[in-house]
Symmetry: C2
Subunit: 370 residues, 2 copies
């Protein structure tokens, strides 16, 4: 239920279905509680204070962000337990130190050297900053591999030698689950990650404060039914889901909570194509291989109540800067006129939100941090 | 020459080299003057009032934009001859009518029906709106094909029957030059487009005011040495150029006028990869096949004077939301530390500018319309 006045939409507009969104939040929060893991949702997907409050209403107290500026933005709204799940950017050391005074802040490190430099910069008298070591469990983007014991020890020792750094544990992002196309694959990737993190915990867990193992990606957090040995999950995308997640199998299309409303501006009868105002600057250029072709979004119809199920005989064929080209069935072609609206479910909701910078929620425009 | 204090850069920052930018503008303006075509640069690439003034200083008086809101933005800064090169969006009819009072405004139509609806909405007493018919000369995105004579006649008649619509001519965008990889291909595509437009002009040019034929894409406008029969060019990207244009052959890398300065946040010795703060939300996900692989940007070093020539043994291998992963040579790997900056020349400068929303020009942050 979206409650929109379709007539008021003049340009591409990102609609949020609050009910679906809240249902997604509740579902993941309940799952985390049931499985006994801390839920630290990644707020980079929505970047919205308003939606952050929907999480708070479900009892969520800890969050993940992907930049220092995003941490600041949410701290302003009362969030005081924040992990910046992005490698330590030394150029923002002052901002990190400042934020550590205002919140229980955790940073991520992938190497000892930058942490040593940060540690020298930070006075021992200042509030401690939590430190997670990023472990590469196969995604091969950032992080130490579990056998790099010497570097891991150096990081832990840097923390121990500083009163203002607190070693918290190991964190991984199994982003390679995005290449999976069924639950079994997601499970295999995740279980191997859990095993690798578990072996590090067994090796380094010595003090009275147990180390935390933190994992987080929407496919794993959606599909797995246990997180043995894991202490914390950090999914983000599930708040909106998107076409990519339906292709992976994380969700049904009915759980996608954002839809770009796009004015129809042109039609081509020969090619059975409809061109909408809504392109790469609104959706991003993210695409996914779906059944037998690369697509840039699912297509749906709009009403004052919200959007329809995807029209599976239509798809977004291409996007350029402001144009989206939609292949449609003959029936849809005949039913749509210039000036009508069509809905596009984005392939990647995190990037579409980032591109748009604001949402229409129950008829009211809500700014986000972008 | 950029004149930046590198120490002041804390986050991904889009640097503009004003001298290169002004040189690109002057070069295209002089070329248009020499070849006897009106120069109506597309401002969607930079979307900046400040850079718009650099064009004005070269004597440019007419511009192209890709949205009604962009037309408004530039009209506020004194631009009063504007073509909105995007199919008529009926949902913005009121804004278009309002703008037609403030500027000589041209709109684009691809079908008769929306223009008829617009015409009924517009009072005959209001200032006239110029109308271009978009012709599809092979790009197959929007536009009528030249043989759709009946529809073209309908559009022209709609204009003739209205005191407030003025039929101006035919416009095409040969965006398929972006798939070309040498000058000959670009020439072949363009000449066919010119021939098709020319035949339409011959057919429909009857009145005392000659019809205008308008073309515009950076590859053609950069590489062609004549525009026989064409009245107007509308390139946009050339103001910055980018990696894509060097791959097509429109420019040398030395003429790229924007560079994303990115803090180095992680290194991987095994894979010889450097991870920077600078990803899809800064550069977009645009990629290009270069030599033997898909890349997301060229890499360069930075100094207070600006950026180096591209390091051709390095490239941006992938981008995720905030991360850029850069493959580097052994030498570069050893010379770069976390906390340093690296420069990335974007694959598509229009989208990178749109993602960033502002520029660092000679040490001062300049907001844009995004």
């Amino acid at each position: 239920m979206v409650n929109i006045s379709l007539d008021s939409i003049k340009r591409p507009t990102l609609l949020v279905d609050e009910a679906i969104c809240r249902e997604n939040i509740r579902w993941m929060a309940e799952k985390a509680a049931r499985l006994g893991v801390n839920f630290r949702p990644h707020f980079k997907t929505h970047q919205s204070k308003q939606m952050g409050r929907w999480f708070r209403e479900e009892g969520i107290k800890s969050i993940t962000v992907s930049s220092v500026s995003m941490a600041k933005y949410f701290n302003e709204d009362g969030w005081d337990d924040i992990t910046i799940a992005f490698p330590l950017n030394l150029r923002e050391s002052d901002e990190i130190i400042d934020l550590s005074d205002k919140a229980r802040l955790n940073i991520l490190v992938t190497m000892a050297e930058p942490l040593e430099l940060f540690s020298r910069h930070k006075k021992n008298s200042e509030e401690p900053t939590g430190v997670y070591i990023k472990i590469d469990t196969g995604y091969n983007r950032t992080g130490l591999i579990p056998s790099e014991i010497e570097e891991i020890e150096k990081i832990i020792n840097t923390c121990r030698q500083s009163y203002s750094l607190l070693f918290k544990g190991f964190l991984t992002h199994t982003g390679h689950t995005y290449n999976a196309r069924c639950k079994n694959e997601v499970e295999m990737i995740s279980k191997e990650a859990f095993r690798l993190l578990g072996s590090l915990k067994a090796k380094f867990d010595s003090g009275p404060d147990s180390l935390t193992l933190s994992v987080g990606d929407t496919p794993a957090c959606s599909l797995l039914s246990n997180f043995d040995g894991i202490d914390e999950i950090r999914p983000g995308n599930f708040v909106f889901f998107d076409v990519m997640q339906t292709v992976i199998g994380s969700c049904e299309a009915g759980r996608i909570a954002v839809c770009l409303a796009c004015p129809v501006v042109s039609k081509n009868a020969t090619r059975k194509e409809i061109v909408v105002y809504g392109g790469a600057v609104h959706l991003s250029k993210e695409s996914v291989f779906y059944v037998d072709k690369t697509i840039y979004g699912f297509v749906c119809t709009l009403s004052a109540e919200g959007w329809s199920e995807p029209l599976y005989d239509c798809y977004v064929k291409s996007v350029s800067q402001e144009h989206g080209v939609i292949k449609v069935s003959n029936e849809v072609f005949l039913s749509i006129r210039c000036g009508d609206l069509l809905g596009i479910l984005p392939v990647h909701s995190c990037l579409a939100s980032q591109c748009m910078g604001n949402y229409l929620i129950n008829g009211t425009l809500a700014e986000a941090h972008m």
